[in-house]
Structure formats: C-alpha cells, structure tokens
Amino acid sequence: MALNPMDIYKLLPKTNCKKCGEATCMSFAFKLLNREKKLEDCKPLYEDKKYERQRKKLEEMLKPLEEATETGLIVDESLCTGCGNCVVVCPVHVEKDPKGAAVGNGPTIDDPILRVEDGVVKVINMQACRRYGKNRVLCVVCRENCPSDAIRFLEG
C-alpha cells in the first residue's frame, strides 16, 4: 500500500505547534515521509494522552519506512519469481553494463543496483540508483515492469 503525506497529516495533532521545528503539521508529514524527521519529533503526540490512538496508528502506518532502502524502494522477496525484468530495464544498468544487463543477461558489473540471487531479486548497491541523493529523479521503471508487484516504492 502506498503511503501519502495526506494520510499521515490526518493522524497528526494538526495544531501547527511548531515544536518539531517545522512551520506546519503538513510540512512535518512530508518530512516524515522523506525520512528527514522522525515521529518522535512530534512531542504532543507522545506527551498528550488523547493522541495515543493516533500515535499507534501512525507507528503502524510508518513501519514500511524502516524496511525501505534509502530511495524508498521496498522489495518483497516472497512475491518475487526472479524474472529479472527489473535488472534488465534499469536505465543505470543499461548505461553501465552494456554487455550484461542491457542485453538481457545477468549483470556483469560488480556493483549493480539489483541482482537476482537465489531465485529472488536483492538490492546490492542502492547508491547507484537515480533516486538516490540530492539530484534525484523519481524513476519507477523497475516497479512498472514487475509482474508480481514484488517491487514498490514508499510514494506508491
């Protein structure tokens, strides 16, 4: 299931108290999703008893954030069949590995982003992904071509 900032916002106190350092609860929700802030930064949520139910819901909702890699990629190995579509379509692989992943074979470079190991896809080198770092591109090619929905991103 995709996470979106609006759903997070709805469960926050919505008082714009600024205790977290953000101007509004909405901007805090965005930063939570980008993992620039932590839920614990929202003081009223933990101090005030009336928010307890909301807090528990939020904790549940934000669990995938912990599983996800730095780029927001989540791989569910139990769904993966190892078809390798993601490995072959990745534009970074095509550029760096023209004789391997680009032409359909397993990657021949040492540090591919994704590689099929023991029959399922594994994340090897997230830093090379176009979604990584400051100048990121929100590329979703691997997810678009996953026939079993084993790959998803935090934003959907």
Partner: protein, 399 residues
C-alpha cells in the same frame, strides 16, 4: 563456472554459483541448483531397496516379459539419452511418447515440417519489433523469456529499449501477469474464442471488417513498420483452436504483408529435443508406435493408459502420478512400472522398479534443445556415473 539452467526451455546460459549462492537463475532454476541433493531416489524393486544393477536387471526382465510396453517422459533428459530410449522402444517394438502429446508437440511439429517460418531467440533479441504472446503466460512458464530474449533486452537493431523499439501484444483469456506488462506501445486482447481472433487477423490483412478489427488493425500496421515480427504460441493457442491449420493459414497471410515468424513457447527443458530426435528418426514428433509404424492420437501415453492398452511402462524423468488426472494415473497401478528418475517422485513411490539417475545439467552433461531449436551443450557441476545414458544403455544391452 557459467552453467546452463535446465529448468525450462529457455535454457538460460548465464547462471553461476559462487560461495553457495546461485546467481541470475529465476526461482525455478534456483531450486534445481540449490536443492538438487534433496529427496533423491533410491534403487528399489517391489518396494525393497536394492543396488542399481539389480534394479536394472529387473527392469530388463519386466520389459522382456511385457507384451505391450511403452516408454514415456524423457523431456528433462538430454538428447543423447533420448536417442537410446528411442532405440529401446524400437527394440521392444513398443510405444514411445513424451509430455508434448498434450503440450506443444503439435506446434513444434508444424515448425519442424516448415509449415510456419521460424527464427531463433537471439535473432528476436536483435531484430524483433512486434512480439505477440498468444495463449501463454511466460511469467509462470518461462520466467526470464521477456527479460532475457524478447521484450526487455536491447538488441543490435533495437537499441532504444522496450517502450520505443518493441511492440508487445498479449492474447489471453484472462488478464495474466504478462498482460499487465502491456502498457505503452502495447496491446492486450482478451479473447473469448481464439478462432475469432485468427479470423480477424486474416480478414484485416485482406482489408475486410472483423470482430477485433480495431486492435488487429493497429497490430498489423505496426508489423508493417518492421522487417521482423514474432508470434510466441503457448498452450492457450493449442487448446483454444480446434484446428491449427487455421492458425498456419493466418501466419501465411500475415507474411504477405509483413515478415512474421513463429516460435513455440513454454515447455520442459528438452521437450523440443525429444520432438526433433524422434522426428529425425521416424518423421513424427511424439505418440509413436513402432509396431504400427505410425503416430496417432490413440498412441498417446495418456490414451494408452486410459484404454488399458499397455502392460508395462518405462517412465523417464517425469511424474505422471503428480501431473496426469487421477482417472488416468490411477491405471498405473494395474501395470508394471519402471521409473528412472533422480528424485523420489510420487510415481517412483508406487513403481515396481525405481532406478535412481543423475540430474541433467547438474550431475551429467549432454545436449538440450531450446524452444527455438538452438542446441545447447550442458556442462555438469559434478559428474555422476549412473545417469540416464548409462541406465538406458544397460537396458538396451540387456534386451
């Protein structure tokens, strides 16, 4: 060491094992390499454990005494073993059949007889533009088909990737996992009756109106843009059509407007190998009777078993108790059965004689034939002396 995966007819040639991990193989391929030591068969005669030679001797005895013996399976073994199995069937004057009689044998036969133009998967990777998956869901049957050979890889004449340089068409009765991948530059046609779609292709190629004219018109126009298009036909195509000639006519008609090739898709590792080996010998691909000197529906293993026409069966590398309907497989209990298999399959558990063999591609080498007819040489991880070739040779000598 680079290995060939014998898991399906893709025969992927980029698998390697390092530090106990299997790289690049799909989930099915991985199981073969990672778990090949599990659930191994042991030599048995009437449920009692014996040594291999005793089991082979008993097998020879059963086959000698049999009036109507049949040989069945052979799709997961190598061409070299298939040749000897055909010799054994000839010597016994019996029947020989493999899974292709209810799988894609008919389509392979059409290709081998030259009734439809065909090509290789390497050519497809480099040149193909329109790719039609008809009645097949490679997500299940050939996991790496799309990523290794057809839709996703960049080829010499198709360097720009799938969304610009390929046109994917999926024909199926349901929205399969492969159909979900047909997004941009693609078409998914959900059919009720394959014959109607075949008819639409023929009519639109002639410039007439038809049921699926809208989609088919787009596809034919795309085909005209390229000099290389392919149709991959699966079980849905075979069982969806009552008469395959209709389809062959369609391919012929399409070739009048644009080059279209056909490759059967989706079967056991070396099913095409068996079809080709038998075709070279007798001119038929499966369900052959050496006694009658011809091939026919009544000689399919399932029919022979159902109609109680055989009294002994030599089953090599397949598990009919698991894969055939109960009303057919239950008849195995009435006849003498010899199972040659690396694993303790369900059929091995009920067999009179079990001869443990080696897993082709892991414990023994040899030749296998890919779905497009390319012969691939398999190198084993470790060599095991008692393999299908050894066992079948011993049986042949014994007879």
């Amino acid at each position: 060491m680079i290995m060939i995966c014998p898991g399906c007819s893709c025969l992927c040639d980029d698998i390697y094992i390092k530090e106990g991990k299997v790289f690049n193989a799909c989930r099915r391929g991985n199981e073969i390499f990672a778990k090949y030591k599990e659930n191994r068969a042991v030599a048995r005669v009437d449920g009692k454990e014996v040594d291999v030679d005793t089991a082979i001797e008993k097998a020879v005895e059963i086959l000698k005494d049999a009036k109507n013996p049949a040989i069945y399976g052979l799709d997961t073994t190598v061409v070299e073993a298939q040749r000897i199995a055909i010799d054994v069937a000839e010597k016994l004057n019996g029947y020989i059949d493999d899974n292709s009689s209810f799988c894609l044998g008919e389509l392979v036969e059409a290709v081998l007889k030259g009734e439809m133009p065909t090509t290789t998967l390497d050519e497809v990777r480099d040149n193909a533009y329109v790719l039609v998956y008809w009645g097949t869901n490679p997500y299940h049957s050939l996991s790496r088909h799309l990523s290794k050979y057809t839709y996703y890889p960049r080829g010499k004449k198709r360097p720009r990737g799938y969304d610009e340089d390929r046109f994917l068409v999926v024909v199926d009765v349901r929205r399969s996992e492969t159909a979900v991948l047909a997004k941009k530059n693609a078409r998914f046609i959900m059919v009720d009756d394959d014959a109607e779609l075949v008819d639409s292709f023929v009519k639109v190629a002639e410039g007439k109106a038809a049921k699926y004219a809208k989609d088919v018109g787009v596809i034919i126009n795309e085909m005209k843009r390229a000099d290389f298009n392919v149709i991959f036909g699966g079980l849905g195509l075979k069982y969806g059509l009552k008469d395959l000639n209709q389809f062959k006519e369609m391919v012929k008609k399409l070739n009048e407007v644009a080059p279209v090739y056909f490759i059967p898709a989706g079967f056991h590792g070396n099913m095409r190998g068996f079809n080709e080996t038998l075709f070279e010998r007798v001119g038929h691909v499966n369900k052959y009777s050496f006694r009658d000197g011809k091939s026919g529906e009544e000689f399919a293993f399932t029919e022979l078993l159902k109609n109680e026409k055989i009294d002994a069966a030599l089953i090599v590398g397949t598990d009919p108790v698991y894969s055939l309907p109960f009303e057919v497989s239950s008849k195995l209990g009435k006849i003498k059965t010899i199972v040659v298999d690396p694993r303790m399959s369900f059929t091995a558990k009920i067999a009179d004689v079990v001869i443990p063999s080696a897993i082709s591609g892991v414990e023994t080498g040899g030749t296998m034939v890919r779905s497009d007819g390319v012969r691939v040489k398999l190198e084993p991880l470790e060599e095991k002396e008692v393999n299908d070739v050894y066992i079948l040779n011993k049986i042949k000598e014994g007879l």
